[in-house]
Subunit: 804 residues, 2 copies
């Protein structure tokens, strides 16, 4: 720890300091309202007229004064303690607050030089807000200092904890909306305080923004007795500091003094815990402080409009005065409201903030809007990645598939080296599935699971610090990883394929963040978010239908092609090569789907690298085409199980119909199937046509829902000849081969389809019938023995040596 | 209330009763292990041999003894009090428990007559479990008494509360895994106790199954001090009853006595609260009891195997002894384990449960596995639905689109009547968006929002009972509705289109449940789950990119065509007709997407009904084709905004190129686009071809991601001529028309595309250029005024009277 971090300050804030905070607060409130309403006359130098008002009034006032209040107070404390701090704004709809504060701090002008700290800049700032061609209404990537857009509520606390990991001197102040607190993801995030380590990680200070209301309803937490709320917070493992401000007749300076004291109290307690932790003197998990801030929603806006209470009610949520262009009385109220902040005391002649406004604000990188961690791409350093070739599976080209290995276990070996070589910038997250997905035991030779709750002698691989974090909340895993990435680090989320749907919406939001961030010059790219989806649809034999769902790929590919990549490596070497590629990349979401069960290994490492580099390609050893005998049919596959079945189908056909010329293709990078203009990875039409032919039947065995392949290829010339087999939403607890049979993805069905599409049904009826019989036999065997028939279970590729 | 409900019983359980419970417990444990391991020799009449063991050992033991324990104890209490009870098993992977208990109660044999209560039946019961052609390993629809499959963890408590709504005499005993409790959805569900009403609704008794472990990790709640756990539970608003059982040297009878007392205590407290509530004597929201049950994971299984601790550790999670076929020592341990339950005391000569096993169990419908509410379809009565024609929007065919109305507001009027006419079988759920989505104010004229937390004078429409439930957790809304439907009632979930992705995975699980349930004869169909997705992608002007996502339709259509329906009504009358249809249906998930903003109204009620009945059709008044002049191009649309833009494009074209013969088609029911064999709603090819033509260009304006339309139609003859415009994942805070322009779905782009595809680019270059100019003008206007250009914003359909 540096000398300065985590200082205690026992002297209470001075009146001057509090006056500065109040000036900040009034200025930020003024600027927030300006953004919502004004397109001209930003400093109210003239009486307010209808034409000064925007034509569409968009934005959310209700949460904003509370956010500005907290921000102003944090500023004082940061300056006082020189405490590096990140601000996470849960109610991201309070976007005007983030913009206002960044402008006051000068960061806005640094990031967007055309928005100066003067009258013209202020007018532009106001005008651009929620305006076509301008900036969004939320705490989006455009907002300096933000890592949490907060449009979809519920992720602030998880983001905050993710940001705090491995940054022991960072304070993350996280404002949580009391409505936001009702969401499942937020409710589940509180327990993250048992995962972080007091010495090795930063500190999250949750501030529950109890303004009492959501959009149109009170919040649950505002409507339970305080004793219950306090018990809840204690139950979460926090020491609550409850503070109420803004009662109707209270002098704001009294509110300020009360909150400043609460905040100092919280920070002093944190300082104490931190120094105990550094000294190794913590006896047990500390009860970190948190603040419950009760304040009126819409605080400082008009009490009443048209006879209805506004301040302190849900009616303040969005735009408290809706008809200011048309309704003179509303406009008068707005003007009064704006002038109540005494703008002339806050902004100088030119329109710049006066010194009193900034009197308590920190400078440089201590400004929360300029916090380097909020632009993590700038801090990110590339991972040190050991050569994955060292973990290669030995594959003898003359005996491909002869040996079975679990691919994720092999990946685990390499990930262990990544963990070792990057001891504070790479983490693995999982919902209690890292062992189930077979990355363990390998990874636990390199690291432990980080756990700061109680431990028992029977525990294995749990430790106060460790590079794997497991908690049975997919939301929390995802949120922690997002927070970790957005502040400049790297990571991997491993989870069951079916249940990654739990975070569909978080993925959507993150992908949108990445997409927006690409267009913002000052945002440097952050490391990609890497998913390893294992325990996939085809091998959930023991868990059944609820665990069988490959649809996340479809969700992922609906997002912008600029930011999404989907990989289906089909053995350990292709998985290693893919993972290495993904861990080097920035700005993407990489979805890797790979099975954990023992499976045949197909490609040598050299072949795997070449294949993955191309993203898709012909497996020459599997087909029978020659220069003189071009392929009669293309057998394509994407995914480990489909490729296995397709290769088995190829071997059946090679034996049964030697004169049939076959081409076998494997696709690792799904986006290659799209056209160049659809996706940066899209294969040029000419190349696609060369591989898939223009007129030969293509039988495609795909890991997921078959229609996805159609939607990726519908503009390709040969699309009419493309016949896709995939998951047909049929499943249960059964054997692996029964699963593929249920979904018509089994080797026999594939081989029959090739026969039919190649027009050989008549001429090769006997072979066709023998496949039907074999399939019936296989099915009957499962019903009798509860296991797969040996001719399937023990099947191995006949060996390229004896083949083409 | 009936005389018998909610009785207090102060006499403690007798030793005989507890012996019966113990016998039940041993029997259920025995039967659970039998399911996991045995395919022969079910009663251990012979020494255990390798061939008696299944070849693949699948299933989860760890949670099972705890579930059986709770079930046995509940039985005693139910019998004692004649208390109608539903059992919700959070850790649904403890499926063997549900099956074992149902078999003991005789329900299994009633439901599946070939599984008798005798040795042969037991053998079949064992064999079928997790066996090909048999039953799933989880508490799936196949399990009598289950409404919660619990494969994807986190929804038990929400399901329990949903089941309890409007059933004031029902007790719902909900076992929550301590791992499950870490999930966001579960963590957010606790506060549902503030939504239910003590007098009008049933009671949920949460039982936290604190067995200490998940798959491979301890649980957080097991590793915090008890004081913290108790505070947490109090913070949730419950009175905790903590009970620990199963310590190493404890006589099971002591464990039984302790838990029986805890359960009686809980039920007596509930009885007291219930009678206070009935007497109107409740002073405030009651602190409902809940039970924390500490027990060893895998309780009663071998302590140690191969030198590793099993009982009471994570290693007991699945199959504690993995090699019983091959390893003699393991097999010996298994036999010892099975015999430790003394099967000969539990099953008679024939193999039926002996009287002592059933001595404390209830009969008839009090058996939890036979609870009628667990087969809600049998209880369901059709809704009383007022004629929606009464709420029709008046549309004058000579002035279509002349008046704008918000369609959801009109739906709200009709829903108000549904609420009135079905005062205890229909509910609306929403995450604080029912007003935002404009169903209110209308619905609040018929009902209130149910709220049993504190209230204030300023509150509006909050009341102790009411038919709308709002809580800012999409998970809780969905879970409550699922629980409500699965127990025989009806409902609607209204939510923002983008954020319905939050429950993608819950939707998946529910759709899978419905799909599986269809094949189970004794499961009567439940009411459909109806989504109203409003505040949709095109009209999130004030919220921006994070709120713009139409992808839920894609997720929905990946599930089985047997259970999913998607509707895109394009005005109020089509919305009314669609909603009426959905509320009458059973066994589906109906997704209705409809905007809330004022929009032109197009069809008369009669036309709307006819159109919705067909699901798609030509709008003759909008096109220009005649018998002699067949259409040169088809202008198709699905969704309200796309239809508006397409109609505007048609009007532009009609004016600019009168000689162009146009057909305008609207699609309300998306599945109509699929083929007959793909979806029950699929349009026969001949009809499709008649509407979309075989060779004319079809310009299709679609609400969501354009590729969905391709994937639905890729097998249609005219597919090559189909050109779809939709959401291209481009968005921000901007004007409505700027949004459609950003995504190339605007009238000008559509009109230009028609010109190009119809080969008129050369001949009608001037018209084409005028559209480009108009588009540029519109764009520039938004940048200047922050609003849409009047020629767009004020555009109205020129009037069918003057048209074709
Ligand atoms: C997951 C989610 N569901 C619904 C919404 C719609 N929404 C926007 S703001 C809001 C109320 C938020 O209340 P709160 O968190 O208390 O914020 P504040 O009162 O500070 O505005 C809701 C429900 C949302 N943004 N995210
Ligand atoms: C949402 C979700 N994530 C992950 C899993 C994988 N999983 C199956 S069982 C289990 C552990 C459950 O622990 P707990 O709820 O304590 O159940 P019990 O100890 O009673 O078996 C996990 C993580 C799952 N089923 N659902
Ligand atoms: Mg609030
Ligand atoms: Mg557990």
């Amino acid at each position: 720890m540096t000398e300065t971090a985590w200082q205690r300050r026992t002297a209470p804030a001075s009146t001057t300091e509090l006056e500065h905070v109040d000036a900040w607060w009034r200025a930020a409130n003024y600027l927030s309202i300006g953004q919502i309403y004004l397109q001209q006359n930003p400093l109210l130098r003239e009486p307010l007229e209808a034409e000064h008002i925007k034509r569409r009034l968009l934005g959310h006032w209700g949460t904003t004064p509370g956010l500005n209040f907290v921000y102003g107070h944090l500023n004082r404390a940061i300056r006082d303690r020189a405490q590096r701090t990140l601000f996470v704004m849960g109610p991201g709809h309070g976007g005007p607050s983030g913009v206002a504060c960044a402008w006051l701090e000068g960061t806005y002008t640094e990031r967007f030089p055309d928005i100066g700290q003067d009258e013209q800049g202020m007018q532009r700032l106001f005008r651009q807000f929620s305006f076509p061609g301008g900036i969004p209404s939320h705490a989006a990537p455009e907002t300096p200092g933000s890592i949490n857009e907060g449009g979809e509520l519920g992720y602030s606390l998880a983001h905050a904890y993710g940001a705090a990991l491995d940054d022991p001197e960072l304070l993350v102040a996280c404002v949580i909306g009391d409505g936001e607190a009702e969401t499942g993801p937020l409710a589940g995030s509180w327990h993250a305080n048992k995962l972080l380590n007091p010495a090795a990680d930063g500190v999250v200070l949750p501030i529950l923004h109890l303004n009492g209301w959501k959009i149109a309803n009170p919040t649950l937490l505002a409507r339970i007795p305080e004793a219950e709320l306090v018990a809840l917070v204690r139950g979460y493992g926090h020491e609550p500091i409850v503070v109420s401000v803004g009662a109707d007749d209270e002098d704001p300076m009294v509110s300020h003094a009360r909150f400043a004291e609460a905040l100092d109290d919280a920070l002093d307690r944190i300082a104490q815990i931190k120094s105990d932790a550094a000294a190794g003197a913590l006896e047990q998990r500390p009860a970190w402080p948190m603040i419950v801030l009760r304040s009126p929603k819409g605080w400082t806006c008009p009490d009443e409009v048209d006879g209805k209470a506004i301040e302190g009610t849900w009616r303040a949520h969005q735009v408290p005065l809706a008809e200011v262009r048309e309704n003179d009385e509303h406009r008068r109220l707005l003007e009064e409201w704006l002038r109540s902040y005494r703008p002339e005391e806050l902004f100088d002649e030119r329109g710049a903030p006066r010194p009193n406004v900034l009197g308590a604000a920190p400078a440089g990188e201590l400004r929360m809007s300029a916090a380097p961690v909020a632009n993590g791409g700038e801090l990110r350093r590339a991972l040190a990645l050991a050569d994955f070739r060292a973990d290669a599976q030995q594959v003898d080209p003359s005996e491909r598939g002869a040996h079975s290995t679990g691919s994720t276990a092999v990946l685990g070996e390499w990930l262990a080296s990544v963990l070792r070589d990057n001891p504070d910038t790479f983490r693995i997250f999982g919902p209690d599935e890292t062992a189930s997905n077979r990355l363990a035991p390998a990874v636990y030779e390199a690291t432990d699971k980080q756990w700061n709750a109680e431990t028992l002698p029977v525990d294995e691989h749990l430790a106060p610090t460790g590079r794997v974090i497991e908690v049975l909340s997919e939301h929390l895993c995802q949120g922690l990883l997002e927070g970790y990435l957005l502040t400049g680090r790297h990571g991997l989320f491993n989870t069951y394929e079916a249940f990654v749907h739990i975070v569909d919406s978080m993925f959507n939001q993150h992908a949108k963040w990445l997409e927006s961030a690409r267009k913002i010059e000052w945002r440097a790219p952050v490391a990609s978010l890497n998913y390893l989806l294992s325990s996939h649809v085809w091998r959930q034999d023991h868990n059944g239908f609820s665990h069988q769902d490959p649809g996340f790929i479809d969700v992922a590919l609906n997002k912008s092609a600029d930011v999404v990549r989907v990989y289906l490596p089909f053995d350990a070497n292709t998985l290693l090569s893919t993972a290495d590629h993904c861990l080097r990349s920035t700005g993407y979401v990489n979805v890797i789907v790979a099975g954990k069960q023992p499976q045949p290994q197909w490609l040598t490492m050299e072949e795997a690298i070449e294949h993955c580099t191309r993203g898709l390609g012909i497996l020459p050893w599997a087909g029978t085409e020659t220069e003189d005998r071009p392929a009669d049919a293309v057998l394509a596959a994407a995914g480990d199980v489909p490729t296995l079945e397709m290769l088995a189908a190829a071997s059946l056909l090679r034996e049964a119909i030697p004169e049939l010329s076959l081409r076998v293709v494997n696709v690792v990078d799904l986006a290659r199937l799209q056209q160049e203009h659809q996706h940066p990875h899209g294969l040029p039409d000419a190349e696609y046509d060369r591989i898939f032919t223009l007129d030969k039947p293509v039988i495609f065995a795909y890991h997921g829902y078959p229609w996805l392949i159609h939607r990726l290829t519908y503009k390709r010339a040969g699309h009419e000849q493309l016949h896709v087999h995939g998951f047909l939403e049929r499943g249960t607890t059964t054997t692996p081969f029964d699963m593929v049979m249920l979904n018509e993805l089994d080797r026999y069905t594939l081989a029959i389809d090739v026969i039919d599409r190649a027009g050989l049904a008549e001429s090769h009826g006997a072979a066709r019938r023998s496949f039907i019989d074999a399939r019936d036999r296989a099915k009957a065997y499962t019903r009798e023995h509860g296991a797969d028939i040996p001719e399937v279970a023990d099947w191995v590729w006949p060996g390229a040596a004896s083949g083409s």
